[in-house]
Each structure stands twice: as C-alpha cells, then as structure tokens.
C-alpha cells in the first residue's frame, strides 16, 4: 500500500475534502483559515507523492513543494492580519456577522 501512488493520492483527496468541509461549515474565520491550510497541505502532499513515484518529476516536485510552502506562509500571514483588522472593527471573529456587503 505504501508503495502505490494511489493510496497517497487518495489520502490527499480525503484531506482536501475534510479541509473544504471545514472551510464551508465553520463559523470562526480563523477556523476557515486553518481549513485552508489543510487544503494547501493536501495539494502539497499530492505534489510530493508524484515526485516520489514518477522519475522525471523527482526534483521538480521537491522544488515546487518548497515554493508552495513559502507561498502558503505568506498567505496565512496576510489572511490573519486581515482577520485581526476586521476583528478590531466588528469585535467578533464569526463570519456570520460580516455581511456589510449584502443586499
């Protein structure tokens, strides 16, 4: 099982599904961000799995995964900064309350 690419890919698909569920269903904005991190990690796992099993992609996958991690870090930074800024305004981290743009 650990030698088949499929299992790693399935694992990453499950992780992605869990992450998307959390993103769509949680009320706290930071929970949504954590779910986003889960989804990014699932994608990263896919990339690395491919790099481990497909010979021509070996080093390329590692480089791409590295860059993805860096980008994820930047995104998490900015996202949390935004949430903190909004928290200052709305006094609550719950996205239910962020409906200033509704009709």
């Amino acid at each position: 099982m650990s030698n088949s690419l499929d299992s790693y890919l399935v694992l990453s698909a499950l992780l992605f599904a869990v992450g998307s569920f959390g993103f769509l269903a949680r009320r706290n904005a930071i929970s949504m961000l954590m779910s986003i991190e889960l989804m990014i990690n699932a994608v990263n796992l896919t990339i690395v799995a491919f790099g481990a099993f497909v010979e021509p992609l070996k080093t390329h996958a590692a480089v791409i995964a590295l860059i993805v991690i860096a980008v994820a870090a930047a995104e998490a930074t900015v996202g949390l900064a935004i949430i903190i800024a909004i928290y200052r305004n709305k006094k609550t981290p719950l996205v239910d309350e962020y409906d200033a743009m509704s009709q």
Binding site: V18, A25, R26, I30, E37, F53, A76
Partner: protein, 182 residues
C-alpha cells in the same frame, strides 16, 4: 539487527503499518480541526496534522520538505494561528454553535468533491514506477538556483510584501487606543 520487511507472524509490511498510522493520525487530527468547538484545540490538532504530514514526507523520500514543513508550518504558521486566536478571543465562552446554517450542504459538497477526486484518481493509470524514490538535496538545490531561480526570487518578493502588508493591516490606529505609542 536489521528488521525484516514485514512484521513477523502478522505479515504486514512495516512500511504499510507506518503509512497507515501516519495516515490515520493525519485524518483524525484533520477531522478534529474542523469539528472541535474550542478553537485553541483546533489549532493544536492542526499542529498534530502538520507533524504527521512531515512524517509522510519522509516516507516519500523527501526529508528536505519534511524539515521545511516542520520549520515553517509548525514553527511559524501554527504559532501565528495561535497568536491570532488569542488576539481575536471574545470574552464569552466558546459559542454554542460550531457550524453555520449551511453545514449540511457543505458536508454534501465536501463529500462530492472528495468523491470526484477519488474517482478520478482510481480510474487513471498513473505513470508511476511502483517504487518510492529518494530525492537528493543537492539536486534540489541545483534545480532551485538554476531553473527555478525566478520563482525563487519572486517568492522572496512575495514574502517581503506579505510581511509589510501583514504589519500594516494589523497595526493599531494611531491615537485610537489610550496609552499607545505609534
């Protein structure tokens, strides 16, 4: 004493066992992240999932990525998330409702997404070699600084922008709160 390939008497390969354990940890902690009520616990279980993911990276022959995962994700992002949780804590107890009103629809959507991807994965024949390969760090470094130097530099610019942006977005207003120095 070298251990054999598989567990004696049971016949399960060690690799498979390791994989299953790590996968189980990953999935369970991920589920806990999305379902726990107390958000700090969510953050901690997120850290656990990062850790198990690092283990899987090692299994996939990529210790460099595993190390980077631990350093960046656990060392920086998890800490960042915990700080943000602290900063946005409300005075009340964790609210009664964990999920929004659209939770059922979200579950259905998540199941669908997962199902579609898994179906695609299982029905495609991947050009896989069947053996896990080991990635050499020197090769990664060579590729990173020769063929991928532009994305590398772009990422460094991106990180700078992210730092500046984050600092700007999250700073307090000047003079709004008493006793603060700009």
């Amino acid at each position: 004493m070298p251990i054999g390939d598989s567990i004696p008497f049971v016949g399960i390969r060690w690799d498979d066992l390791l994989f299953v354990m790590l996968a189980a940890t990953l999935l369970v902690s991920a589920l806990l992240v999305v379902t726990l009520r107390d958000i700090i616990r969510c953050g901690l279980s997120l850290t656990v999932s990062f850790a198990s993911l690092a283990g899987i990276y090692v299994m996939l022959g990529n210790p460099l990525i595993a190390a980077t995962q631990v350093l960046v994700y656990i060392g920086a992002i998890s800490v960042l998330i915990l700080f943000a949780i602290m900063l946005t804590q409300t005075k009340n107890a964790p609210s009664k409702l964990v999920f929004q009103t659209q939770v059922l629809v979200a579950a259905v959507a998540a199941v669908f997404i997962g199902g579609v991807i898994i179906a695609t994965i299982l029905t495609t024949t991947w050009p896989s070699g069947g053996q896990r390969l080991w990635t050499a760090t020197a090769d990664v470094a060579h590729l990173l600084f020769h063929d991928y130097v532009l994305p590398f530099e772009a990422v460094s610019v991106l990180l700078t922008a992210a730092v500046v942006g984050g600092v700007y977005l999250a700073r307090r207003e000047i003079g709004k709160n008493e006793g603060d120095k700009p």
